[in-house]
C-alpha cells in the first residue's frame, strides 16, 4: 500500500486539543470536523490540506485525549498519512482504526521540509522524500495493521472477518 502527498510539518507533542478542539466534539459528520482540523495551531490548515497532504510530526504526535474525531478531522481534511518520530498510542490506534495510515519514522523531521513530495510504502516501511531524493527506513507495520488500513478501517475489517466465520 503506497500513499503520496506534499508534506506539512509540525513540532513535538502536538496534542488532540489543537488537532481538534473539544468544542467541536459534538459534530458528528466528519466533513464538519474537517473544517476545524488543526485549528489550535493553524486555522488555514484545512485549506492547505485539501489537495492531499502528508502530515509530518515530531515526538509524541497526537498526545492527549482519546477523541477519534482528531484523526477523523485530519483524514477528511485531506491528510493521506501521518508520519511522526513517535505517536501517542491512542492516536495511533485511532488513526489505523479509521483507516488513516500512521507510521513511526525516526529522523523524519530532519529529512523533510514543508512542501516536499513524500511517498510512503506502508508494507515495506519505506518513506521517500522525492523532492530531496532521500529515503528513510521505518519499522514495518505488522501485517494485520496493513490489512486494517487496506480494508479502509477496523469496522470494514471486522465485517470481513465476521463474515468469514
Amino acid at each position: 500500500m503506497k500513499v503520496t502527498g506534499t508534506a506539512i510539518k509540525f513540532g513535538d507533542n502536538i496534542d488532540t486539543d489543537v488537532i481538534l478542539p473539544g468544542k467541536y466534539l459534538v459534530l458528528i459528520n466528519p466533513r464538519d470536523l474537517a473544517k476545524h482540523a488543526m485549528e489550535g495551531l493553524d486555522p488555514a490548515f484545512p485549506e492547505k490540506a485539501a489537495q492531499g497532504v502528508i502530515v509530518v510530526g515530531g515526538k509524541n504526535f497526537g498526545c492527549g485525549s482519546s477523541r477519534e474525531q482528531a484523526p477523523l478531522a485530519l483524514k477528511y481534511a485531506g491528510v493521506k498519512c501521518v508520519i511522526a518520530e513517535s505517536f501517542a498510542r491512542i492516536f495511533f490506534r485511532n488513526a489505523i482504526n479509521i483507516g488513516l495510515p500512521a507510521i513511526e519514522c525516526k529522523g523524519i523531521s530532519a529529512a523533510v521540509d514543508n512542501g516536499d513530495g513524500v511517498v510512503v510504502d506502508l508494507e515495506a516501511g519505506k518513506v521517500q522524500n522525492v523532492t530531496k531524493g532521500k529515503t528513510l527506513q521505518a519499522p514495518k507495520l505488522p501485517p494485520f495493521i496493513v490489512e486494517i488500513l487496506a480494508d479502509g478501517g477496523l469496522i470494514e475489517n471486522l465485517r470481513k472477518r465476521l463474515k468469514k466465520k
Partner: protein
C-alpha cells in the same frame, strides 16, 4: 512478571507474556461516555451486529456535557439512552452518576486483575485498583462491543518508587506533576507506569487514582498500583463479585523494569504545570506573578471528597478574591452528597465559589466555565493544552486542590504553605 504482565497473560490465556508481544485479550469491562459514545454506536451499527457481546460488561456514562447545553448535545444524549436501553446496558444518567472515572470504581465496575478499556484517555485511572485499564477510541470501543476482545501490545514498564511522608498542603497531585516534569510528556509512551513504595502503600484510593489518572500525560498505556487492604476497604459494599486473590497481583521480585525512578516526597513542595504542556512544571512559589481570572476545583483528577476537603480547609472563613470566579465541581453525585453532609458545600458557597452539579465541566472546554482570550485559569484538572478550557489564547495552570484554593484567595498563583504562613 510485573502486575500488568500478569493481568495481560491471564486475559489472553497465556502463562506468561513479555514486553513487545502482541496479545489478544478478553475484556472485562468497556465504557463509553457522551462524547465518545455516539461515534462508537455509529460504528457498532456499521458492523451490522444486533447485540453487544455481553451487556453486563458495558457501561455508558453521561458526564462531559451534562446537563445538555444545546439541542445538538441533547440529541446525542438521547441517542446514548436509546442505545443503552435497547442493549440492556447500564447507563448513568444526569444526576445518577458523575464523571465516568469516578463513577466506574464507585459503582463497583472496577475490580483488581480485570482488563478494562474505555473510550476516554483517562481510563488509566482504574490502575489505582490493580486493574489493567487503558483508553481507546470510539471505533475500537465498537469492536469491543462486538467481540469482547482487543489486541494489545504488552508494554514495557517504568517503576516509580515513592518513599517519605507528604508535607502539609502537598498531595499526590504535586507528586504526579513532579514525576511528569521529570520524565516528560513523552517519557512513558506505550509504557506501563507502576507506583510502589511506602508512600503509595499508605496513600488513599483517591490519591492513587490521581497518580494513575495522569500517567497518560506522560504517554503511558496504563498506570498501576498493587491492590491491598485499602483497595479492599474501598470496594466493600460496592461489588458483590468475588475478588481475585491479591497475592497473585504482586509484581515478582525479579520483574523487569526499563527504568526505576526513586522519589522522596518529604521535601516536595507544591507543583504547578504551566501552559501549554503538562511537563512544564515549576514550584508554585515561583509563580506568584501569575494573576488569575478563574479557579477550578474538580475533574476526574481531583474532584473527590479528599480533594474538596483539602480545598475547603483553605477556603474556610476566607473569601475568593474579587475577579477570580471559582468553580467547585464534585466528581460524582456520591462525592457531592458527602460534601454536603460534611458542610463543605457551605464553606465553598460562603467563600464566594460556585458549586456546580457533577460534570466534567470546564476541564475540556466544551460546556461550562470556558475561558475568554487572554484569560488565565488555575485548575485541578489534568491538561493545560492550547484551547483546552476554551479560547486558544487563554492560559491554563494545573495544580493541587490546596494550591488552587490558596490561589483563588489571593488572586495569583500561591503556594498554600505561604498563605498559611502569612496568617500566623
Amino acid at each position: 512478571m510485573n502486575i500488568t504482565e500478569k493481568i495481560l497473560a491471564k486475559a489472553s490465556g497465556k502463562t506468561s507474556v513479555r514486553p513487545g508481544e502482541i496479545v489478544e485479550a478478553n475484556v472485562d469491562m468497556v465504557m463509553v461516555h457522551d462524547l465518545t459514545g455516539p461515534l462508537a454506536v455509529e460504528a457498532f451499527r456499521r458492523i451490522g451486529m444486533e447485540k453487544v457481546w455481553d451487556n453486563q460488561k458495558a457501561v455508558v456514562i453521561l458526564d462531559h456535557q451534562v446537563p445538555a447545553e444545546s439541542v445538538k448535545v441533547a440529541e446525542l444524549h438521547k441517542m446514548m439512552r436509546q442505545f443503552a436501553k435497547e442493549q440492556g446496558i447500564r447507563l448513568y444518567d444526569v444526576g445518577k452518576g458523575g464523571i465516568c472515572h469516578q463513577v466506574m470504581p464507585e459503582k463497583g465496575h472496577v475490580l483488581p486483575s480485570t482488563v478494562i478499556v474505555g473510550a476516554d484517555s483517562h481510563t488509566c485511572t482504574y490502575g489505582a485498583f490493580g486493574a489493567f485499564a487503558t483508553g481507546i477510541g470510539s471505533t475500537e470501543a465498537a469492536a469491543v462491543f462486538a467481540t469482547g476482545r482487543i489486541w494489545l501490545k504488552v508494554p514495557s514498564a517504568i517503576r516509580v518508587n515513592v518513599e517519605g511522608k507528604f508535607r502539609k498542603y502537598t498531595a499526590p497531585k504535586d507528586l504526579i506533576l513532579h514525576v511528569i516534569g521529570k520524565l516528560g510528556a513523552g517519557g512513558a509512551i506505550y509504557k506501563s507506569v507502576e507506583f510502589t513504595g511506602s508512600t503509595i502503600r499508605e496513600m488513599s484510593v483517591a490519591g492513587r487514582m490521581t497518580l494513575c489518572n495522569m500517567t497518560v500525560e506522560m504517554g503511558a498505556k496504563n498506570g498501576i498500583v498493587e491492590p491491598d487492604e485499602t483497595t479492599r476497604d474501598f470496594l466493600k459494599g460496592r461489588t458483590t463479585k468475588p475478588l481475585a486473590p491479591f497475592e497473585s497481583l504482586k509484581s515478582d521480585a525479579d520483574a523487569a523494569y526499563e527504568k526505576v525512578v526513586d522519589i522522596d516526597v518529604a521535601d516536595l513542595g507544591s507543583q504547578v504545570a504551566c501552559p501549554a504542556q503538562v511537563d512544564n512544571v515549576k514550584p508554585a512559589s515561583e509563580l506568584s506573578n501569575v494573576t488569575l481570572d478563574q479557579a477550578f476545583i474538580g475533574s476526574c483528577t481531583n474532584g473527590r471528597i479528599e480533594d474538596l476537603r483539602a480545598a475547603a480547609e483553605i477556603l474556610k472563613g476566607r473569601q475568593v478574591k474579587d475577579g477570580v470566579r471559582t468553580l467547585v465541581i464534585p466528581a460524582s453525585q456520591e462525592v457531592y452528597r458527602q460534601a454536603l453532609n460534611e458542610g463543605l458545600i457551605e464553606i465553598f458557597t460562603d467563600a464566594g465559589a460556585l458549586v456546580c452539579g457533577s460534570t466534567c465541566g470546564p476541564c475540556l472546554g466544551g460546556h461550562i466555565g470556558l475561558l475568554a482570550p487572554g484569560e488565565t485559569c488555575v485548575s485541578t484538572s489534568n491538561r493545560n493544552f492550547i484551547g483546552r478550557m476554551g479560547s486558544t489564547q487563554a492560559n491554563v495552570y494545573l495544580a493541587s486542590p490546596a494550591t488552587v484554593a490558596a490561589s483563588a484567595v489571593t488572586g495569583h498563583i500561591t503556594d498554600p504553605q505561604e498563605l498559611e504562613a502569612s496568617k500566623a
